[in-house]
Symmetry: C2
Amino acid sequence: MHTTVSHYLDRFIDKIETRDALTPTERAALTGLPQKLVQTAARARIVEEGERPTHCCTVVEGIVYRSKVAASGRRQIISFHVPGDMVDLHTVLFKVADHTIETVRNTTVVLIPHDAILRTAEDHPALARAFWYDTLLDASIQREALLNNGRRDTRARTAHLFCELAVRLKRVGLVNGASFELPLTQTDLADALGVTPIHTNRVMAKLRAEGLIAFGGRSITIFDWKALVAIGEFDTTYLHLEGPSDLHL
Amino acid sequence: MHTTVSHYLDRFIDKIETRDALTPTERAALTGLPQKLVQTAARARIVEEGERPTHCCTVVEGIVYRSKVAASGRRQIISFHVPGDMVDLHTVLFKVADHTIETVRNTTVVLIPHDAILRTAEDHPALARAFWYDTLLDASIQREALLNNGRRDTRARTAHLFCELAVRLKRVGLVNGASFELPLTQTDLADALGVTPIHTNRVMAKLRAEGLIAFGGRSITIFDWKALVAIGEFDTTYLHLEGPSDLHL
DNA sequence: CGCAAGATTGAAGTTTGTCAAGAAAAGTGG
DNA sequence: CCACTTTTCTTGACAAACTTCAATCTTGCG
């Protein structure tokens, strides 16, 4: 367990600071949070549904997702998480995890104890607000996913998901030109979109045949951003990129 | 705008207190929140997607839902809200509403200014935590909806939704025996379940024919709770009924 | 009473799922 | 670096779930 200042949380802190400036004290409180660096294998379970987690998980490198499983065994991926995301900040107030957290490939994450986060929130109202904001944004992304999967066909869903991931990865500097690494299998994508992998494959093949995207080798290239945005009805309002309310107390 | 103590928030406060005891001071801070009582007509829009709300909405009587609309015009209902629910507590930190809030029938709600809520949260860390918890539970319910709509067939989805509403209404004393008022149209239900009203009608008709439920006259009766729970794979873990983490600072 | 909204039913079409098999790519051990 | 194994991707044919269009019936309400 590190207790010295590290930079593993830099992306997370940067994200918070684009929303609301922090004082040096507040920033120090974040960088000083106890951190346990963990390197995982591919398909590692960080938290399992029903467990009682004691730490929050922040992505340093790689992709992490949260999922729930129906009685039939069919899996629904709830959300994907990119570097800088605190994946399960909400577990600080829940006893039992209501979903599983898994890595896609070799991934680096940082674990932070719940009690340290709660103490930080109590000592620094601005940080309490920042944590709260982060979980609210997470919920907003879930609402859009509910609309996406409920009221758009698979073609639009797929386009929407790629647009969202492109924007979120771009914000942390992980998009090169029109390409970004996305080491997900088509089964992963299917489980996020609520369809079968076979169907996902056909829909993606059509997008590729139309020259809109390319994929393979664990990465995605978007050739026609405007077209993909139109197909996916992608509107960034729900990402609340403009930052939080101007209300300062 | 009331500034005297009222009991419109009693159900909300009760809900919070089942999770974590409040001090008299904290309770007073909640009951003393400025409140604007609003009686709405049926199908009234309280907040519209894209607006910049300045108040939070708490349900006093009736049913309220949040929805988003796809470009095709198809509507997705994100969640239903029962008396005692603070529907859009998350808007305190967002500038722009990412969804619409509507009432089903004549409904009573209470509006509370954002700045009052934020000030209360800043002055009372326990209340900041309680507000945070409330929005986290909301997000957990959304995750279950994502699983429900993505990985269960319409029969299971419908059963699950009725089970959830029964539990949530029971917690606020709005279930009589096996029946509860639910003044939703089948189109409302369809928009929540991500299917067409015609299909919803057929699925519900089958549940009725099997003697599991009755509906009509704006209310639902569940004759066979165990069977409905089994069909809907309903497990209350995601409702976090056990209260928040035991961690007290 | 009569209108309007919602519920119900039928028939036909579309999207998506299931089963099955082969091809390509990635990982593994020598 | 190659041969082998496993995973992932891709394609075809068929089945099931769900949608669409259309019409009728019922109910709530002024």
